[in-house]
């Protein structure tokens, strides 16, 4: 690179790539530094057994059309393997599965089917009111800035124009536990468990926990790629490769196998990075796609920050509670009572079942029977497994980051529990397994540089949302150290394969000059 660098992006996860692509598109000289051997972070599609490939993040509920268009991702190879996966709440005895697809239920009682329409309609109204704000820089209170005032004003306006009745309901519901919300609308325990799943998955929360249930549901409704639950072709890594190509096509550089050890600070300003190899690279701006704890403690150092700010970063809740399970299957397992397992399968008969699993995890244990979200992406995309064989990709709750005895000791037992839990629904699963990969929160932390193995880089919750994400003082992608920025899931709006944090960060950076 002949010209001096405008920006270095630390981490080629999807937000880092999105941020790099936007900056490069605006003519900035950008270099992305990635510790791993392939781009994409948790979205990368990796071979976990010979011929079998999977990505940790396996669906794209939050991805938006605008980003696909802005970065011309289709020109760079982005395709969908499925545009609208149905969600199937599996009944343990195979007799009464409930399917959620295209905004309607099948297999549920008439009352629940009707209630679901009303429930969806109300949530969609709420989602519409706050949707614009996922893609805007959060405001700072009392900044005196016009943009902040405008964002706050629009927020107020959008809420107010919900009308008195709906606004009142939104204020009542916004911090409700998922269980209360479900009990208000539905009868079927199976349906309630399934609909509560997205309210809590990924957080240290369960159906009875107040805080983020509704906001998490609305967040998940922010994607508009297809109107359903999309699956990328080539696994989520297919999208990651397209993002990397888009960034590079716009002129960004991408260096793999280049872990950053430290951000170099001179006279209170971030001026470059030191690689683990000892190499020093300078740039005008250093943008970290790492989680806030890694960014501020490991890369930057508390030395350069104020005391109370440092403490707020330390207090971020970053313990992951989800394990990722990848199974290589030599044939398609048979799920009892399900003709074709081609959807997102939820294995949780009741909210109480989820809650019980959570109770174990709170105290460092895990349940004998584990709730999970299961996908067989090879059904949609035959490149993920050898011909006729399959990949099973599952989110398994709850796997506490600090498990009693440590994960080295618990790994086999946890895997046995997960497989036994699967076998309740697919009795022949054990006979199909040729290889497995279990990624505990500790594994996610070690392999992806993710503090606590938390896929949101820090709890996605009301107290850690919008102008408090990751905390005030760093909520506008700028940090207290000039020249140092955040662009990852720890910033607004949060995790999930969305890219909004990367886009918003790029917009904030581009505005500065």
């Amino acid at each position: 690179m002949s010209k001096p660098l405008d920006a270095i992006i630390i981490g080629a996860g999807h937000n880092g790539l999105v941020c790099a692509a936007h900056l490069a598109r605006a003519g900035r000289q950008v270099l992305v530094l990635e510790a791993a051997s392939q781009p994409g972070g948790l979205g990368a599609t990796r071979e976990f057994a010979p011929g079998f490939r999977a990505s940790v993040a396996h669906t794209l509920p939050q991805f938006g059309r605008k980003l696909v268009a802005d970065l011309a991702l289709e020109n760079h190879g982005f395709r969908l393997a499925a545009s609208a996966l149905p969600t199937v709440a599996l009944c343990p005895d195979g007799s009464g599965h409930i399917t959620i697809a295209d905004g309607t239920l099948s297999g549920a009682c008439a009352a629940d089917t009707a209630a679901y329409k009303a429930y969806q309609a109300l949530l969609q109204k709420f989602a519409k009111a706050i949707n614009p704000f996922w893609h805007k820089r959060p405001p700072v209170l009392g900044s005196g800035g016009l943009r902040d005032a405008a964002t706050l004003g629009l927020f107020g306006w959008n809420l107010r124009t919900l009308g008195k009745t709906d606004l009142r309901e939104m204020m009542r519901m916004i911090a409700l536990p998922a269980r209360d919300l479900m009990d208000e609308y539905f009868h079927s325990p199976l349906l309630k468990a399934a609909l509560s799943w997205d309210a809590n998955v990924g957080s240290k929360l369960a159906p009875r926990s107040p805080n983020n249930a509704v906001i998490a549901l609305l967040y998940r409704m922010s994607g508009d790629l297809t109107g359903g639950l999309p699956l990328a072709s080539g696994g989520t890594g297919g999208l990651m490769d397209a993002l990397a190509k888009a960034a590079c096509a716009n002129g960004a550089g991408l260096r793999l196998d280049s872990p950053v050890a430290k951000v170099v600070v001179e006279q209170g300003r971030a001026v470059g990075v030191a690689l683990a190899s000892g190499e020093l690279i300078r740039a005008q701006k250093i943008v970290s796609n790492a989680d806030p704890k890694t960014s501020f403690f490991q890369l930057l150092g508390a030395r350069h920050l104020d005391i109370q700010f440092t403490h707020r970063i330390r207090r971020l809740r970053t313990d992951g509670y989800v394990a990722k399970l990848h199974l290589a299957l030599d044939r398609l397992p048979t799920f009892t009572g399900l003709a074709y397992p081609g959807g997102r399968l939820l294995l949780a008969p009741t909210m109480q079942f989820i809650e019980n699993a959570y109770d174990e995890a709170k105290y460092g244990g895990y349940a004998r029977r584990l709730p999970m979200e299961v996908l067989l992406p090879s059904l949609q995309d035959d490149r993920l497994a050898p011909a006729g064989q399959h990949v099973l990709s599952a989110l398994v709750q709850y796997a506490p980051y600090t498990v009693n005895g440590g994960w080295d000791a618990q790994r086999k037992d946890f895997l046995d529990n997960a497989v036994a839990s699967l076998a309740q629904y697919a009795p022949d699963i054990r006979d199909c397994i040729v290889a497995s990969e279990l990624l505990t929160p500790t594994d996610l932390e070690q392999q992806f540089g993710l503090t606590g193995g938390h896929w949101h880089h820090g709890e996605f919750a009301l107290d850690n949302w919008w102008m408090n994400r990751p905390t005030y003082g760093a909520s506008q992608y700028r940090t207290p150290v000039s020249g140092f920025y955040l662009c990852g899931a720890g910033s607004h709006p949060g995790g999930g394969i969305m890219g909004a944090a990367g886009s918003n960060a790029a917009a904030a950076i581009l505005e500065e000059r």
């Binding site: 005391i307 109370q308 003082g473």
Partner: protein, 406 residues
């Protein structure tokens, strides 16, 4: 069933049973405290005065006074990150502070408000002692977040301390056999073998005069007191209590926590805490060193110029302006601030005070509304105040090495 929590009976907890704790010098100081006038400082008995506060005051100005500072909180910071951790916490350059020196410091919140002030002793490359009037362990632990190699220990009870302050203090220490003490520079630390261990002497104090602070293990405390008072008669030694020390520290231009300012962590009302700039401590803000907590906020405040000023005031007349409100005019129409400390200074022979004045008014006229009693009858007087920029009392001998007359 989980077992019930068993609380210890108060009689089994030594200091609760006693109510107020004795310092390591108490066996000696209580013998001299004729009226048994004690205040409570961090749970310890601290003499208000021993016999006569005026006499004690004049001793520290003309011979020497001894004040028991054992209730001070003392913290040890040790480890390879100690210097960096402290440098990021306090406002002066710790990295450049030489070993065996002391530096007066403040530490601030992110918004640049003073948490507390104190003296930082560098006792080794990786060893420090921080002394402050109030407990601060919780803040120091917060300030150590992100620094792995620093151990913070509350050593308050492990060290007894006396302040020996006044023109004859150096001569007395020399007479006690501490050879070379006359070569000890202001804010320097020296060590001497003493009793069962050693004596740490720092040329520091709270009176603005020539003086030393003596740090000793508690088991050697009584020995230190006895030696000072056995030899000290000819040097005019007097024990001094809170009242005389308070007079001396105002004359010297020093601040008292909870008198002139409140630590930011202890205030509730907005604006009731203070930045170092407001307190006249701009001189210990080092903006050229590496980052310290509150730096950005303080630079912004300094550039704005829009902050209150704690002023040193010389007030006409001889009635101390205690608790007075300050005005911009004789008619007391525009209120602009208030007095934090005030006294008639016998040594300066002036009516002195500190007043906190709003940013808009510190350059203009300042009037104090003083209430005073004459045979129980309250009188009101409005007195003109004149700003003073130097400490009221700063004798040459306080800076000289070797000090005169020793």
């Amino acid at each position: 069933m989980s077992p019930m929590v068993r609380l210890r009976a108060s009689r089994d907890i030594a200091h609760i049973h006693r109510g107020i704790m004795p310092t390591p010098f108490h066996s000696r100081s209580s013998r001299l405290n004729l009226n048994q006038q004690w205040s409570q400082w961090n749970g310890f008995a601290s003499a208000v005065y021993y016999a006569d506060p005026q006499l004690e005051y004049f001793a520290t100005r003309n011979t020497c006074g001894v004040f028991d500072t054992s209730p001070m909180r003392k913290y040890r910071f040790a480890g390879s990150d100690a210097a960096a951790m402290l440098d990021r916490m306090v406002t002066r350059d710790v990295m450049a502070q030489p070993v065996d020196t002391v530096a007066y410091n403040v530490w601030c919140t992110d918004t640049g408000k003073v948490v507390d002030d104190g003296t930082l002793f560098r006792l080794g490359a990786e060893e420090f002692m921080l002394c402050c009037a109030d407990p601060g362990y919780d803040w120091f632990c917060l300030a150590a977040v992100g620094f792995d190699a620093v151990a913070i220990t509350d050593i308050s009870e492990d060290l007894a301390a006396l302040a020996l302050q006044g023109p004859t203090s150096c001569a007395l220490l020399k007479a006690l056999g501490f050879a070379g003490i006359d070569q000890c520079k202001p804010f320097q630390v020296m060590r001497f073998p003493f009793g069962s261990g050693r004596l740490l002497v720092s040329r520091t104090g709270y009176t603005g005069d020539l003086g030393y602070e003596l740090w000793v293990q508690p088991q050697d405390a009584e020995l230190l007191w006895d030696e000072l008072f056995t030899r000290g008669g000819v040097y005019g030694i007097q024990p001094m209590g809170d009242e005389s020390l308070e007079m001396a520290r105002v004359e010297a231009g020093f601040l008292a926590p909870d008198v002139d300012f409140h630590g930011s962590l202890h205030t509730v009302e907005r604006g009731h805490d203070h930045s170092p700039l407001e307190l006249g401590l701009g001189w210990i803000l080092n903006f050229r060193k590496q980052h310290f907590s509150g730096r950005a906020a303080l630079i912004a405040q300094k550039e704005s110029g829009n902050y209150r000023r704690l002023l040193k005031l010389d007030i006409e007349g001889n009635k101390p302006a205690q608790h007075s409100i300050l005005y911009a005019d004789r008619k007391c129409a525009t209120e602009i601030g208030y007095i934090t400390s005030a006294l008639w200074s016998p040594v300066v022979k002036a009516n002195i005070a500190y007043g906190l004045v709003e940013a808009k008014y510190f350059g203009g006229q300042i009037w104090a509304e003083i209430y005073h009693q004459k045979e129980l009858r309250w009188q009101r007087k409005v007195a003109r105040c004149t700003r003073v920029t130097k400490p009221f009392w700063a004798p040459e001998r306080a800076k000289l090495t070797p000090p005169p007359d020793c």
